[in-house]
């Protein structure tokens, strides 16, 4: 990582996580789950055009690019890993969602789209 990324990951992002983060459970395929903190932007449902215009709830989440406190972009398997989270604010039942693309992995932050 760059020096800026190192500093951002070490000082700035933890502050953002403490203010805006919430707990979610990361389920790496074939390994034990772990609870991590993520900043979640719950987007409006989007159309999943590729497979027949299904309207699916989506979200973008940012986590530490770390295999302990977040999700390391190196370990991430977008085809098989899952995230357990509340799809709507105020939900009482969490749901396991699939990871779609990894949007970015810079500044010590892994940004994912989930659906």
């Amino acid at each position: 990582m760059t020096v800026f990324a190192d500093h951002f990951a070490a000082t700035a992002f933890p502050g953002l996580l403490s203010l805006f983060g919430e707990s979610v459970t990361y389920w790496p395929f074939g390994r034990a789950s772990r609870t991590i903190t993520a900043i979640i932007d719950r987007s409006p449902p989007s159309v999943f055009d590729a497979a027949g215009n299904a309207v699916l709830p989506t979200a973008v989440m940012q986590v530490h690019n770390s295999a302990t406190s977040g999700i390391s972009s190196k370990e991430l398997d977008s085809g098989a890993d899952e995230i357990e989270m509340f799809l709507r604010v105020g939900d009482t039942v969490s749901k396991r969602v699939t990871i779609m693309p990894t949007l970015s992995q810079s500044g010590g932050v892994t940004q994912l789209a989930v659906v």
Binding site: A50, A51, G79, T98, M100, V115
Partner: protein
């Protein structure tokens, strides 16, 4: 509650695919997740098919339903099998599931005939998922004044 013939056909299509795959029909905001090897069943236009309409009292009205089964291929990032291999298997296995019934083409008497249309490829623009869409043209007849009653 009775359902129109077109809906009954879609229910049977899902039941048949569900014997081999997880098969979903979407609610307005879907609750299923686009995982590897899942299928999404949906429909397109219902087109008048005058070739199978026939006179009578009441006349029988012919329709062609465009039905589709999308099979999602989203294997592990570390999978070394070519993605096209998964798509080829999905297309073949979906067709096998659909035809795995005696007189598969008439959907237990609800339809007159079914044509296999195309097996289309799809890929998400973000590369997150891809797969195949198996399309069917299902021809059925109903009473002109009762869309809930199939006519042989």
């Amino acid at each position: 509650m009775s359902e129109p013939i077109v809906e009954q056909i879609m229910v049977k299509l899902r039941e048949r695919v569900q014997e081999s795959f997880k098969a979903f029909r979407s609610t307005r905001v879907a609750t299923w997740m686009p995982k590897n090897q899942t299928t999404h069943i949906f429909q397109g236009n219902l087109t008048a098919n005058d070739a199978i309409s026939c006179p009578g009292n009441p006349p029988a009205k012919g329709w062609t339903l465009e039905a589709a089964v999308a099979g999602i291929a989203k294997p592990s990032d570390r999978d070394t099998v070519p993605i096209d291999t998964y798509k080829n298997r999905l297309g073949a296995d979906i067709l096998n599931a659909i035809t795995n019934a005696t007189l598969w083409h008439n959907w237990d008497g609800l339809a007159v005939n079914t044509d296999m249309s195309d097996v289309e490829d799809f890929s998400g623009t973000d590369g997150s998922a891809s797969g195949v869409i198996v399309k069917l043209a299902i021809h059925f007849r109903v009473s002109e004044n009762d869309q809930y009653t199939a006519r042989a």
